[in-house]
Structure formats: structure tokens, C-alpha cells
Subunit: 233 residues, 2 copies
DNA sequence: GGCAGTACTTGAACACAGTGCAAGTCCCTT
DNA sequence: AAGGGACTTGCACTGTGTTCAAGTACTGCC
């Protein structure tokens, strides 16, 4: 495992692994150095700063998402491709929940994201959205998926926090639930949801995402047609 | 300005102000203490930890958003109310861009958010979404607005970073643009967007948000009706 | 083979962060 | 007046990003 000389790719790879395993607050230069079998400060030869490293890692993961073929993508039948693309993004963000935190605090605009964005834009142009509307449609879906990932990130962070508390994780969990229940007690609708949520916990998030995505795509189509009739008027 | 004794409310208020002005990485206990005219460690008597404080501040701002009257909200005419509510959330997140970062790294479930969530849920129930569908519809809109705020947070963070660099902010900005242009150069669609974006910079984000929101609401209505016909079949 | 220079690596150090601790200071109650 | 609780303070400890001077090792050249 320990190499005598480091490379940028190795560092980025290790950083992504560490971030996946420990999250944003688990990434520090000494831990990264240890994982690489090198001193913490050795990283600084290959990378300007920690922020640079995060930007590098944050861009790298965009390359993981598969780009659907757009040959069969037409204004009459574009939703399957759009769904594939959104699902790909969703899965990537689920694998790397830290990305949304990095995204919110740094500007992320590297080649990996550019590759994704370009294809995404092409998709909505092929789907019949013209000019700025293609941008807006692509942004709407992107935004929805990103927003969903915020919740995922929060959950992942919470899970790790509970893990870190070790023994009394279950008790901590119970306390949190009790507090939530107490807060919700004055809000009848929330209390009802809290009780049903305990039953189908785990399956719900995916359904909610799929439902929302379907709604967004359906809505975009209706807006596209509305825009068309607007422009031709 | 200096008080002889602190209160929780004062501390939370000051924390929100500091977060609004300096962002997440500008909030530290010594700076907060100075703003309060007290020693940094004095805060710890009123608040368990920095994370607790952020949770407190992060919940407090939810109370700022106005809750629309639901009397006139019906399955035939619910979108104005939903738009109001989403706009309120959007405005609040724009005022407090740090909230999305806090949201992504801590679990936020206090009374302020509960108040909002309950009303939001009530709205979608009044709009004719039944059972879990009301949850999913509310979540879809919430998620979209939240996702939008991620971009806002990133922009605010970038702006502050440029400010911090002081004199050569303009140069830094230019460098960033040049780099983006270089990255985009191999992606024809992105390059075109970058050029048009330079023209109508500033007005675009609001339009994009409004367009996306319209699409989401339209899509939800179509999905609601589809679900109805599904259930009655 | 020796030599220089380049490409890294290292350990010690600095500045600043969150936070625990013991020792205050004030004010209110009895 | 005395005591105690509410609150504040300064100090110090740990962990973090980052810098820097000092290495080490490899490369190509004479």
C-alpha cells in the first residue's frame, strides 16, 4: 500500500474513499496522509490546499455517471432518457453524500461536471426545449435531484454521528425520536406522519424521489408546450 | 452594546446576524463573543456546543416565513397558495444561504421547521393530495426549493471568498471565468451558454426558479389526477 | 563515476479553532 | 451579613490547515 512517490490521482482517489467512509468532517490531511502511507504534508506538493483537493475530488466523481444515448431522444419520447440521467445523478449523489456539502461551500466547475452538464443540456435540447428554456428545464431537474441529496447528506451525517457515539447510539437515537415526537406533538399532521413513517421507514425515500421526478418531468413537458404556443403567438 | 448578562435569544440573534454576514466559516465562538461584548466561552453557559448553537439558529429562521391562509385553497385552485409558500421558503433561504450547509451536515428538526412543515403538509392535503401523496407532493416542492438554495449558497460563499482576497478580487474573478471558459471550450453547448450568460447575468436565476417551480406544480397536479384515476380503478 | 539539479518527502513549528476547568464576580435571597 | 447560585473569565489542551527549512533520492550530463 505505501508508495515511495505519490501522484495526484492516488491522492484524489484516497480522498474520495475517505470522504465516502467518514464524510466531510472525517477528511483531514493527517488521516489522508496515513491512508497514503505518507506524511500529511506530502500532499501539499501535489495539491495547493485542502479546498483544492476537495474541488478535485468533487469534480472527479462526476465522471462516474453514465451518459444515456440521445439518438432515440425526441420531443415525443424524451422522458426515459431524462429519467436515466436523473437517476444516474441521484445514485452518484447517494454514493457520495459529501458532494452536496462541498457544492454548497465551494464553487465546483471542473471538467467532470462540465461533461455531465453538457450532455444534460443536449438531452433537453433534443427533447424540444429551445434556447434558454433548455437551460431552465435542465436546471429544474438538476435542482430537484440536488435538493433531494441534501436530505441524504443530512441522514448520512446523522448516522455517522450516532456511530461515533458508540455504545449509546441506540439510546441517542431514541432520544432524538422522542424529541421529534415532542416537537411534533403540537402539530397534528406531523404527528400522524411520524407514526406512519415508523412503519415504512426505508422504502419511502425512493418512492418519494421517483414520484417527484415523474412530476417534474411531466410538468416540464406541459411547460414546454405552453411555451411553444406562447412563442408562436 | 455590551450587556452584563447574556440570554439565549441574544446569542441566537447574534449568531444569525454573523452567519448572514460572514457565512458558515465566519462563525466562530471568539467572533461571536466579541459581537456580544463578552468572552467567547461565556456562550457555553447558555448553549451546549457550537453545533447546538447552529441548530438553534438554523431553526429560528424558519419562523420568518409567512404562512398563507388556506381557506381559499382547494383542489381546483391551490397553486397560488403553493407558490406563495415556496416563494417564502425561497426568500428565506436566499436571506440565509448558510442554512443549506447547516441542513446538510446537522439534523434540523426544531419547532420552527415543524411549524412550516405542518402548514406545508396542510396545504397539499387541502389541494387534494391524499395520504402519503400529500407528503410526497410537499416533499417534491420543498426539495426543489432546497436544491435551488444550494446554488445560492455556493454563489454567496464564492462572493465572500472573492471579497476576502481584497484588491485582486477582480483579477481572481477573471481567472475563474477564464478557467471556466477553458473547461467549457471542449463542450460546444456549454460554451454557447457561457457567452449568453455573460449578457443577462443576474436576471436569469429568478426566471429559472420561477419556471422550475411552475413546472413542478403543474406536474404535481397531473400526477395527482393520475393517482386519483389509479386509485379509483 | 561524480555532479548538479529536480522532484519529491519529512518533521517541526505557527496560527487558529472548539471547548473543559478552576477561579473568579456579581446579585438575590434569607 | 452570609451564602449560594447565575453567570463570566482567562488559561490551557487538543486537533486542524498550512508553511518552511532541511533533508533524500532519482535523473541526466560530463
Amino acid at each position: 500500500m505505501p508508495r515511495d512517490t505519490l501522484t495526484r490521482e492516488q491522492i484524489v482517489h484516497a480522498a474520495v474513499e475517505l470522504l465516502d467512509a467518514e464524510g466531510m468532517e472525517g477528511l483531514n490531511m493527517r488521516a489522508l496522509g496515513k491512508r497514503l502511507g505518507a506524511a500529511a504534508t506530502a500532499v501539499y506538493w501535489h495539491v495547493g490546499s485542502k479546498d483544492d483537493l476537495i474541488a478535485l475530488a468533487g469534480d472527479h466523481v462526476w465522471n462516474e455517471i453514465a451518459l444515456p444515448d440521445l439518438q432515440r431522444c425526441s420531443p415525443d419520447d424524451w422522458r426515459p432518457a431524462a429519467t436515466d440521467m436523473a437517476d444516474g445523478l441521484h445514485a452518484m449523489l447517494t454514493r457520495h453524500p459529501w458532494l452536496v456539502q462541498a457544492f454548497g461551500s465551494l464553487l465546483m466547475a471542473g471538467p467532470g461536471k462540465a461533461r455531465h452538464d453538457d450532455h444534460n443540456l443536449a438531452l433537453y435540447e433534443a427533447a424540444g426545449f429551445t434556447g434558454a428554456r433548455a437551460d431552465q428545464a435542465a436546471a429544474a431537474v438538476f435542482t430537484f435531484v440536488l435538493g433531494n441529496a441534501v436530505g441524504t447528506a443530512a441522514a448520512a451525517s446523522l448516522t455517522r454521528k450516532l456511530d461515533r457515539e458508540g455504545d449509546n447510539a441506540a439510546q441517542s437515537m431514541r432520544e432524538g425520536m422522542a424529541k421529534a415526537r415532542e416537537v411534533a406533538s403540537s402539530f397534528p399532521r406531523l404527528r400522524a406522519r411520524l407514526e406512519t413513517a415508523a412503519a415504512d421507514y426505508g422504502a419511502a425515500p425512493d418512492d418519494t424521489f421517483a414520484f417527484g421526478l415523474r412530476a417534474v418531468l411531466a410538468g416540464l413537458e406541459s411547460q414546454r408546450d405552453a411555451a411553444d404556443s406562447f412563442e408562436s403567438a
